[in-house]
């Protein structure tokens, strides 16, 4: 399997505080990688540092063979990385269709074609009903799906999801789990930050754990859920499978 994203020694400091400390992360094509850690561990900062939102103080990022360290955000997208945000960032006054079209224009100039792509994406995530609704009127579950559709419309190779399931009902969470599977089946690699453990463990091929900016563990969901260090800092004893 070939490596799609390789981030080495990524470090980001804010004043005296080191939010991300020399983190290595590599993702193979077609994988779903989960990124977990307690609040403040540096997960979103890590995302921001490899997508051009922050300038990493140190480290190197290679994507599909190209060095994209500290490239600007929009160039990141052009190269094939798309992301969603922890707090949804919709284009409030536009309709769902228009929102997704903004993403679709990443790959084409033609208005009609972008519109078609956008409609396909809305269907893909299950939002056809809301095609012409103003985003401000959608509920949180739909807004998250919309953000995913919008990111997908840019035809990314890697999709970064930042807590897409936060604040959703159990049914909505199931929905999103199916959606992420569907995304992987369509050939897109996924890196996801999540707090909903069951969902993340179910989906991920590999899990990386951060704590206070440091990577403290990496492995399969089984390995991580039985890792003493991880359990100690984050999961709590109740999650341990087969307590011997």
């Amino acid at each position: 399997m070939s490596i799609l994203l390789s981030a080495k020694s990524i470090t980001k400091k804010f004043g005296g505080m080191t939010a991300v400390d020399s983190v290595d992360l590599s993702i193979e094509k077609g994988q779903i990688v989960g990124l977990i850690g307690p609040n403040g561990a540096g997960k979103t900062t890590f995302f921001n540092s490899i997508t051009g939102f922050y300038k990493a103080d140190n480290g190197k990022v290679t994507f599909d063979g190209i060095d994209i360290t500290n490239v600007s955000t929009y160039q990141n997208c052009k190269v094939g990385m798309a992301r969603t945000f922890q707090i949804v960032q919709p284009f409030g006054q536009l309709t769902s269709l228009e929102n997704v079209m903004v993403g679709a224009f990443n790959c084409c100039k033609n208005y009609a074609r972008a519109e078609e792509t956008a409609k396909e994406m809305l269907e893909f995530v299950g939002l056809e009903e809301k095609t012409h609704s103003i985003v401000a009127d959608l509920n949180i579950g739909d807004q998250r799906k919309l953000e995913m559709a919008r990111a997908l419309a840019t035809k990314p190779k890697l999709l970064l999801l930042d807590e897409v399931m936060a604040g959703l009902t159990p049914t909505e969470v199931e929905n999103v789990i199916e959606l992420v599977s569907k995304i992987r089946k369509s050939g897109i690699t996924v890196l996801m930050i999540e707090h909903i453990m069951a969902a993340l463990m179910k989906l991920s091929d590999k899990v990386v754990v951060l704590e206070r900016g440091l990577k403290i563990a990496e492995g399969t969901p089984e390995e991580i859920s039985t890792n003493e260090r991880v359990i100690e800092s984050y999961l709590g004893r109740a999650y341990q499978k087969n307590e011997a």
Binding site: F53, Y74, N76, A82, Q89, F91, V102, F105, A151, T154
Partner: protein
């Protein structure tokens, strides 16, 4: 609604719009016969205000970068064409193009500095204001630009130097200018650039994450707005035949560019035009009947601006849209209850 009916409705809609447009053009064409010179003057000032406001709307309404210094481009247009004419005999028709180029270059500089250093919101507005004041200061103090005395253009009934004997020529020109920019904005909304503009306005970070080079598009918005504003400056110079630094670089120009948009609806296609047709007549009427109270018409102007911001922040058009939604919702609910 089935597709066939939808397309038929769309076609009907387009035909209706075209008919309205043709009627409008005919009306404007025969206006000189219908109105007195005084009335024509009023129409021309309204249309020029609408045009200036549309130029501002193109940038500030669509990309969301509020400029408080549009007077800079207006003045540059006015001075470039006027000085080229009075000093070198170049016809203002050509001078107009040079004015656009000068304004475009200055806009490139202002834009590059501002957007490179990531100036946003209030800070960007203040910066544009400062740039306009800098230009006003430069023109006021430089003898080569005639300083505070200003530039006077000799009256010549000659259309080749952009002067017309009656009001007709001016009316047709400003009408065509307004038509072109309004059409431009109307069609811009249906393009990638137009949508990108709005995306930047609504959420610049999200826009960047979707592959939009925000810097590039903000520059496009600023420079095109600047170049079109310069034309308004030239038009003013040719209509009134006198300009000075305070008249064309003064803050009243920048305010006049903004107010109609606020009243009509920022970021809409027809808002600025509607706004101009509301605010100018009020101003003129106040002036006509209460002219002995100097300053009263501006008090009214300012009060209307304040009222518009508080009561209808999305302008008259925004108000209509809200009403439309309310009516539709009531109809739906009314139907369900029975």
């Amino acid at each position: 609604m089935n597709v066939a009916k939808e397309t038929k409705n769309k076609k009907q809609f387009i035909i209706i719009k075209l008919v309205i447009l043709i009627i409008l053009c005919v009306f404007v064409f025969i206006s000189p016969e219908l109105f007195s010179k005084y009335e024509m003057n009023i129409i021309i000032t309204i249309l020029s205000m609408a045009y200036l406001a549309q130029c501002w709307n193109l940038m500030s309404g669509f990309t969301g970068q509020f400029s408080f210094g549009h007077a800079a481009f207006y003045g540059l247009g006015a001075y470039t064409s006027s000085l080229l004419y009075t000093e070198f005999g170049i016809s203002p028709w050509a001078g107009m193009i040079f004015g656009m180029i000068v304004a475009g270059i200055v806009a490139l500089i202002i834009g590059y500095l501002s957007f490179y250093y990531n100036l946003k919101g209030d800070y960007f507005a203040l910066a544009t204001l400062a740039f306009a004041e800098i230009l006003r200061s430069i023109f006021k103090n430089t003898e080569a630009f005639k300083a505070a005395a200003g530039v006077s253009i000799t009256y010549k009934k000659d259309w080749t130097v952009f002067q017309f004997s009656g009001k007709d020529g001016y009316l047709y020109i400003i009408f065509i200018m307004l038509l072109i920019i309004t059409f431009g904005i109307y069609f811009l909304k249906k393009t990638k650039t137009g949508l990108y503009f709005v995306a930047i306005r609504e959420n610049e970070d999200a826009a960047k994450a979707l592959g939009i080079n925000a810097f590039k598009y903000k520059m496009i918005g600023l420079v095109s707005s600047a170049m079109l504003t310069a034309l308004a400056g030239t038009f003013y110079a040719q209509y009134y035949l006198y300009i000075d630094p305070t008249i064309v670089f003064g803050s009243n120009v920048s305010v006049n560019a903004i107010t109609p948009c606020i009243i009509g609806g920022v970021g809409t296609v027809f808002g600025p035009i509607l706004g101009a047709f509301i605010i100018q007549p009020v101003s003129i009427i106040t002036n006509a009947y209460l002219s002995k109270y100097i300053g009263l018409n501006m008090v009214v102007y300012g009060a209307i601006l304040c009222a518009a911001i508080i009561l209808m922040p999305n302008g008259v058009i925004g108000l209509f849209k809200k009403l439309k939604i309310k009516v539709l919702a009531r109809r739906q609910n009314g139907g369900a209850v029975g």
